[in-house]
Each structure stands twice: as structure tokens, then as C-alpha cells.
């Protein structure tokens, strides 16, 4: 029994940077046969990147590979595609479903691995003309489902299924692969009901008994404690804590996760003064059908002149709130601004009510990538408020006021320190951070009364981050504009906002002043995760 000592999986000194932006540093992780480890960490802690490296994702190679070594059963491996990883016995259940909607459960479980029967045509023209052996398929699917230990209907069409069963179909698909040794589950319980989640945990225990090792990523910490042998906590690209599950508890893990225990509370530049303004925006019973960010029954009140933060883990619905209010996704409920009701599902009405929105989808929604900065900055103001236009022929036609446009663009280029060759450069050619600044300039140019900013610092470097946040604060101070910032980064919200609402499971789990402790926020974030 030599493999008593050789771990099934060893990851040594793994590091990864995306074009100089270090996301993983010196990660060591080892895993025995049949062992279950829980991997936890905030969004952006590097869990997904680490798993992608292990699974041989294309995206890792395209961005320059990784440092360190991965050993499987003592043998060094370097997967050049997920298919290699699968062949080596690694299975992964992703957060997004990878299922064919019109196929039955069993067809999906055995997708592209269908049992086949040969015939004359396939001898002549190749094995793709083999007949799919449906009875054998039924058998194999049945076996995989039994192995999982959760009953699902193997003849049901996927699109008719409750979402939990889709998740189980994916797991059964991995289990139907005979050489499976290691299964990565990326937040599998996020879409499950409580009872389904319990069934899944039982199923994980079963896998472990059969010798399949499991890496279990979840935000529900109780589950980790219930099923895992070991807990690994990641933060900012480091493994910050590793301990046997029985030696730890939820508050401790939470503390490790949100961390920064040495730092003292950094509230809004020390100006913790409560802004006792009038309520300017009132949101009641809001629901938003934004795929992956569903919002359920949200009630909020934002006061005039404050910076209001909305935080929470990814996929919990925080992004759905501004997108729903601004009419980009189907929504319902009541939104009142300065006592007037704002109709939902109508972006134009929101803009007319002098809302502005800086979208998290910079390149898709935020910018006209192939147009100049001038156009990008002035276009919405021109379109919505008829500014930067000169009347001609007694107002019959209006021309663009190129000079005014250039002036305002130049003003923002200077104020926000946008690095560009001129105000006529194309938006596509700028770096991510500078594109984000252009998005802000565009929103500022609208002179809004209420500004929504969604993930303002996503994917931009530290220097630009500080500048963007400072610009927002300044805009709020000088123009008395109410700002709602939605961000995954709690620290950023705590330094910029007056009050922060934490969204969990599509609902507001609580609203705290920015000076509250990290643990309080952490507890709220995980409170209703679904």
C-alpha cells in the first residue's frame, strides 16, 4: 500500500497572474483518496481560478498558464484541456448548468458518451452512424443516479425540471464516468432547497465512502462543517487558513474569510456623521428577473445626498437591483423617486427622471466601443436632455455643438485623469480602468440626481480603483448627488458609503452603517444564501 502516503492530488506552490495582476500566490493543497475538503472564500478570493487551473481550462492557458506543479497519484500532470482532466479522472460541476434543455435526464447524463450499437452503415461511414443504444443508456443512467443516492426522473426533459434536479443531473453525469477519482463541486447547493441540499450532502458522504475525493466549494458554512474532513479558507489569492472541520466553527471561518483582522474599521474617511436627509428613493416589493442575479421582494429607502452601498456575494441578486430599477431586465414592484412613482421596465422613463446608471457590463452596455471619447461622454446627454445641440433654421434642425462636446470631454479627461491620446480616441483602445472612468464621465455629464454605479472597480488596477472611488465621493459631495454603489468588494463599500445593504438570497438581509464590524457584514452575507 504505497499510495497510503502518496496523496491523490497535490498542488504545489501554485501561482497565477492575469497580466501582472496576481490572483493566486503560492497555493499548496493536497487531497487523499475519499477525502472531502471544503474550499471557502469571498468572491474574487481565487477559488474559481484555482479550480480552473486544476481542470485545465482554456482560459488559463490563453492568459499565460500558471506557476507551480500539480501531481496526481504522485505523477506530475499538465492538462492541456478539460478533456485531459476528465480522462485523468477529474470531474467538475460548474455553477452554470451545462445541460441540453430539450434532452431527457438520461440523454444529458450520457451526453456524447452514449452507449452505441454498430451496424453496416457505421462500418462503412464511421462510428458516428452507430445507433444510440437506448436500453443500455437507460441502465447506465439508472446506475449513476442510484450511485448518487438522490432520486430524479431519468426520462424527464431538462427544461421541465426544477432547478435542483438539474444540478443533480450534472452530478450524476460526473458519477457516470467510471474512472472518476476527484469531483469538484462549485457551489452546488446554491440552487437547492434545504432538503435537496441535505440529500446532496448525504450523496457526498457516499462518494467519499467509495473512494472519490471531493472538493466542495460553497458559501453555506454549516454544510462544510457537516460534510468535510478539512476546511481550506482562501482570501485575496492566498490560503489563509486550513484546519480539520471538527476543530473550527462558523464564526471562525467567517472571520478568516472576510479577514483583515489587523486593520481597524475604516469608515467613510472617518466622517461617520449620519446624514439625516429626506428619503429620495423608495423601493417596495421589487422583483427582478435577471438571470443569475434574481431579486425577490426587496424594500429599500435611500436618503438624499448619501452614498448607499449594496453588497453581497455573487449571484445573490445585488446586481439585479440597479438593473431592474433602470429597466434593463424585467421587473415588478414599486419605485418612488421624490414622491413620484417611476414606471418599471422603461429605461427612458428612468433617465428622464434624471437617474443615471454605470453598468457593470462596461463593454456591452456602458460604452460605444468604436466611437470617440467625445461621443461616449456626450451621447446620452445629447439623446436624453438635448444638450450639446445648436438649433439651426429657427429650430427646425439641430446640429451637434462640437465645441461644447469637446470642452466637456476634455474637462472630464483632466478631472478623472483618463489616459488617452486625445478626446477623439476610440473607447475600445483604452485600458479597463480608463474605460471605467469614461463610463463615469458619461454618467456625470448627464448631471443626474441619482446615480447607480454597479461594480465600479471590477477588473481595474489598484491605482485606478482609488481614483474612481474618490471621483464618486467628490461628485457626491460637490453636486449633492445621491449615489448607490453596488459592489462585491465589501472593503470598498465600507470606505466609500454611509450605509450598506447586504443582499443575500435575492433579499435585503440587513442594512448596516459602514462602521459596523466585518463579522456583522459577513454573517449577513451568508444568512439567506440560496
Amino acid at each position: 500500500m504505497s499510495n497510503e502516503n502518496t496523496p491523490l492530488l497535490e498542488m504545489k506552490n501554485i501561482s497565477k497572474d492575469f497580466f501582472g495582476n496576481q490572483v493566486l500566490t503560492d497555493i499548496n493543497l493536497s487531497l487523499q483518496e475519499g477525502e472531502v475538503i471544503g474550499l471557502v472564500g469571498e468572491n474574487g478570493a481565487g477559488k474559481s481560478t484555482l479550480m480552473r487551473i486544476l481542470f485545465g481550462a482554456d482560459m488559463i492557458r490563453e492568459t499565460g498558464g500558471y506557476g507551480g506543479e500539480i501531481r496526481l497519484n504522485g505523477e506530475p500532470v499538465n492538462f492541456s484541456s478539460p478533456f485531459d482532466a476528465i480522462a485523468a479522472g477529474i470531474g467538475m460541476v460548474h455553477q452554470e448548468f451545462s445541460l441540453i434543455p430539450g434532452f431527457t435526464t438520461k440523454e444529458n447524463i450520457l451526453l456524447n458518451r452514449e452507449p452505441k450499437k454498430g451496424n453496416i452503415a457505421s462500418v462503412l461511414f464511421g462510428d458516428r452512424l452507430d445507433i444510440v443504444n437506448r436500453p443500455a443508456m437507460d441502465d447506465q443512467a439508472k446506475k449513476a443516479i442510484e450511485m448518487m443516492g438522490v432520486e430524479i426522473d431519468r426520462n424527464m426533459i431538462i427544461s421541465d425540471m426544477p432547478v435542483g434536479h438539474k444540478q443533480f443531473t450534472e452530478i450524476a453525469r460526473e458519477l457516470s464516468k467510471e474512472n472518476l477519482k476527484l469531483l469538484i463541486l462549485d457551489e452546488p447547493t446554491a440552487v437547492l432547497t434545504e432538503r435537496e441540499a441535505e440529500a446532496l450532502l448525504e450523496s457526498i458522504r457516499g462518494m467519499s465512502r467509495r473512494g472519490i475525493a471531493v472538493i466542495f466549494i460553497t458559501h453555506r458554512l454549516q454544510e462544510i462543517l457537516a460534510v468535510c474532513n478539512r476546511v481550506v479558507v482562501m482570501r485575496d489569492g492566498f490560503v489563509v487558513h486550513e484546519s480539520p472541520a471538527q476543530d473550527t466553527n462558523v464564526p471562525e471561518i467567517t472571520r478568516w474569510m472576510v479577514g483583515r483582522e489587523v486593520k481597524t474599521v475604516a469608515a467613510s474617511d472617518g466622517q461617520t456623521k449620519d446624514k439625516e436627509g429626506e428619503t429620495i428613493l423608495k423601493v417596495e416589493k421589487l422583483w427582478v428577473d435577471m438571470p443569475g442575479e434574481i431579486v425577490r421582494n426587496v424594500n429599500l429607502e435611500v436618503k438624499e445626498g448619501e452614498i448607499f452601498g449594496i453588497g453581497g456575494l455573487a449571484g445573490q441578486g445585488k446586481l439585479g437591483i440597479p438593473n431592474g430599477i433602470m429597466g434593463l431586465y424585467q421587473a415588478g414592484g414599486r419605485v418612488t423617486f421624490e414622491g413620484k412613482e417611476i414606471p418599471l421596465n422603461s429605461p427612458r422613463k428612468c433617465l428622464d427622471a434624471s437617474f443615471a446608471f454605470v453598468s457593470e457590463d462596461r463593454r456591452g452596455v456602458g460604452l460605444l466601443l468604436d466611437e470617440s471619447l467625445e461621443w461616449n461622454v456626450a451621447f446620452p446627454a445629447m439623446q436624453i436632455q438635448n444638450r450639446f445641440l445648436k438649433p439651426a433654421l429657427g429650430g427646425l434642425i439641430r446640429f451637434r455643438d462640437e465645441k461644447a462636446i469637446q470642452e466637456i470631454t476634455q474637462k472630464y479627461i483632466d478631472e478623472l485623469a483618463i489616459k488617452c491620446t486625445s478626446s477623439r480616441q476610440k473607447a475600445r483602445e483604452l485600458s479597463g480602468g480608463n474605460q471605467q472612468k469614461v463610463c463615469l464621465a458619461k454618467a456625470f455629464a448627464l448631471s443626474p440626481r441619482l446615480l447607480f454605479v454597479s461594480e465600479p472597480t471590477r477588473g481595474i488596477d489598484v491605482g485606478a480603483k482609488a481614483l474612481v472611488l474618490e471621483a464618486l465621493k467628490q461628485f457626491n459631495r460637490e453636486n449633492h448627488v445621491t449615489i448607490v454603489i453596488v459592489s462585491s468588494e465589501l472593503e470598498e463599500l465600507r470606505t466609500s458609503c454611509d450605509r450598506i445593504a447586504i443582499v443575500s438570497g435575492g433579499k435585503v438581509a440587513g442594512i448596516l452603517p459602514a462602521s459596523s464590524s466585518v463579522e456583522e457584514f459577513g454573517t449577513l452575507m451568508l444568512s439567506q444564501v440560496r
Binding site: I100, L111, K116, L129, I131
Partner: protein, 375 residues
């Protein structure tokens, strides 16, 4: 599959009516026009049976690309051209009857494969816009076809018989007579029931094709095509070669369309060299849609229902039109007009149905919230 998805929809009767609104509309049109036209039932049955033999094969060639998610595909027009080239060559070589037809089909295969590969490659680059891309491509390839038939045949490609050559010495005449193989397949096994002539052999060929389609759906390749048709990303992640699968579906479609064109033209008895293929794609697609197919779903049943309804309308509409207005041209006008209308309607309905499903999702969320509040 279709059964399951209909059951799923709540208020299934309303959903059924919405989904089959096109066939229902045609049944109503026919029901009004038949008595007005004053045509006898035996005449109508005779005509429908003839047209079913003539058109079914061509329309069935559309099914496989739909299965592979490439929508209503005008790529079949390319196959039709290949079939015509086969027939032109065979009639010059004076090979007559069934052997001529078989040879023409065999000759069409290499052309169909070549054109199918080209079309498939192009459509892989124009994902999501296959219908319009293939439509425009059929015009482009029509130009290439004209170059070959109008200039190269007789000058580069030897054409012996002056009966099909233009007087100037090269190029093919506007009409090529297929008298030697006219309805040879239809009459191979003669059968007349109560005055209705039934093209038994043609029907047998169509039956074989139907069996092929049913068999093909059960193959691994068919399974892959259905997977690719529903979600390309997921199919790719599971290791299916998506691009190749899509190209194969187009190649199969062009080959079948080539065969179908030979069958179509043997029934007609002549080739209109420069126009036979030009509207065939549109009429086939319209027929399929009238049979209740949609952009992403079509079955053999849709083909036959479509042929019956669409052609019944063609036969009775001119007479009915003449009876009402006194002008028989109204029928021809009606035919083209209705074809375009049907295709437009089907495309719009496809999009609105997609949007409706999305809105339903939102409604579900709203209901959930209300239920929660009631607790």
C-alpha cells in the same frame, strides 16, 4: 418530444392553438375556397397525390438542418442546382428512363457535397443568421450555376446534342425536355384507385427516405445534431465537434435536395434551366411552415400536412379567385404572396414565442413573491 413540450405549457389548448395557428388558418382558407372553386373531389385528390409525390422528397431534405439548429435553410437550393446539372448531362448523353434518373442522382452527389461543404463552412461563420445567409448565398451560387450552364457547357464541358444547346454553339437552352424520363418513376408501378393515379414507386422512394430520417435520428450523429441544435456551447463542452456536425447536416441536406430535384423534374417533364431552382427553396420552406413546423422544430408529419394544405390552396385559389373576380391570374399572385406571408409570419411567431417564455419567467417570480407574502 413535441408531445411533452405541449403538455408542459399551461392552458395547453391555448398554446396548441397559438402553435398551430398557421395550419388552422390554411384549413379555413381551403374550406372556404373548395366550394367556391367548384372542382370535383376526385380531381382534387388526384392533384394532391401527384404533388405529394413531386414535392415531398425535396421538403424532407430540409429536416436535418432544422434538427441541427440551422433553421430554415436555403442551402437546399444549392442541392437543387446540382440535381439539375446531373439531369442536363444525362439528357445530353441520351440515357433515358429510370437508369437516366439514377445516373443523374449519382452525378449530382459530388456537386452537392462540394456546394454543401462550402455552404456549411460559410454558415458556421454566420451563426445565428443562417437563414438570411443561406438565402443570399443561394443567389450567389445561382450566378456560378449560370456561368457553368450558360458559358462553360458546350465550350469547356462537351455538350453534343443541339436540341439542348443554344444556337450560338455553347450554353444550354431555356428549356431542356425530359420527355424520355417524364413520369417514368411515377408510372413504374401503375396503380389507379377509383380514378386516382397513384405514383407508387415515387411514394416508395419517399417512404425509404422517411425511414432513413427516422433511422438517422437514432444514430449517434443524429443525437449529436440534436444536441448541437439546442445548445452549441454545451455540446462543445461535452466534446462534440460542433462545426463539423453542422457542416455534415448541410451536406446531407444538399445531397437529398439534389435527389429530390431529380424526382421533382421527372414529374414535371422538363427543366426550366434558369428558373426551376430559383423559387424552390422558398416554396419548400413555406410548405413546411404551413404544415406546422417552426424555425427550430419540424417533423415528417409537418411535411405531408404542409403539402396537402399548401397545394390544396394552390389548386383551389385560382378557381375561387376567378369565380369571385373573374380574373384567373389572381391565383398565381396569391401563391407567391401567401408563400412570403407564411414565412414572415413563422419568423415573427418564433421570436414572439421566445419573448413570451421570458415574460412567463418573470410572472412566475412575481407569483412566488405574492405567495410568500400571503404566508
Amino acid at each position: 418530444m413535441s408531445k411533452n413540450s405541449t403538455v408542459r405549457k399551461r392552458g395547453s389548448l391555448a398554446a396548441f392553438l397559438r402553435h398551430s395557428s398557421v395550419p388552422i388558418m390554411f384549413i379555413i382558407i381551403c374550406a372556404i375556397c373548395i366550394p367556391l372553386s367548384g372542382l370535383s373531389p376526385s380531381y382534387l385528390v388526384n392533384e394532391i397525390v401527384t404533388r405529394m409525390g413531386r414535392n415531398s422528397f425535396l421538403i424532407i431534405s430540409l429536416l436535418i438542418p432544422i434538427m441541427a439548429g440551422m433553421g430554415l435553410n436555403f442551402g437546399m437550393t444549392l442541392g437543387a442546382m446540382a440535381g439539375e446539372i446531373g439531369l442536363i448531362l444525362v439528357s445530353d448523353w441520351q440515357i433515358i428512363g429510370i437508369p437516366g434518373m439514377v445516373l443523374a442522382m449519382i452525378l449530382s452527389i459530388p456537386f452537392s457535397i462540394l456546394l454543401g461543404l462550402f455552404c456549411g463552412k460559410m454558415l458556421n461563420k454566420a451563426r445565428g443568421r443562417e437563414m438570411i445567409a443561406s438565402y443570399i448565398m443561394s443567389f450567389f451560387i445561382n450566378g456560378v450555376y449560370q456561368l457553368v450552364v450558360l458559358y462553360l457547357m458546350g465550350s469547356v464541358i462537351p455538350i453534343k446534342h443541339s436540341s439542348i444547346k443554344l444556337p450560338r454553339g455553347y450554353g444550354i437552352r431555356n428549356t431542356v425536355s425530359l420527355l424520355s424520363m417524364r413520369q417514368k418513376l411515377d408510372n413504374l408501378i401503375p396503380l389507379t384507385i377509383k380514378g386516382v393515379k397513384i405514383p407508387v414507386a415515387t411514394f416508395l422512394v419517399v417512404l425509404v427516405l422517411c425511414l432513413f430520417i427516422v433511422w438517422f435520428r437514432r444514430t449517434k450523429l443524429g443525437q449529436d445534431m440534436r444536441a448541437v441544435g439546442q445548445d452549441m456551447e454545451v455540446a462543445r463542452d461535452s466534446g462534440i465537434n460542433v462545426d463539423r456536425t453542422r457542416i455534415i447536416s448541410i451536406v446531407i441536406s444538399t445531397i437529398l435536395a439534389g435527389f429530390g430535384m431529380v424526382i421533382y423534374l421527372q414529374n414535371m417533364g422538363n427543366i426550366a434551366t434558369y428558373s426551376s431552382h430559383s423559387q424552390i427553396g422558398m416554396f419548400c420552406i413555406a410548405t413546411l411552415l404551413v404544415g406546422g413546423a417552426s424555425v427550430d422544430k419540424a417533423s415528417i408529419g409537418n411535411v405531408f400536412l404542409g403539402v396537402i394544405l399548401f397545394h390544396l390552396m394552390f389548386i383551389v385559389a385560382p378557381r375561387a379567385g376567378a369565380a369571385i373576380t373573374g380574373d384567373s391570374m389572381i391565383g398565381e399572385y396569391f401563391r407567391v404572396f401567401v408563400s412570403y406571408a407564411v414565412i414572415t409570419l413563422a419568423l415573427i411567431m418564433y421570436e414572439t414565442n421566445k419573448r413570451k417564455t421570458k415574460i412567463l419567467e418573470g410572472e412566475r417570480l412575481k407569483l412566488e413573491q405574492m405567495e410568500e407574502e400571503a404566508k
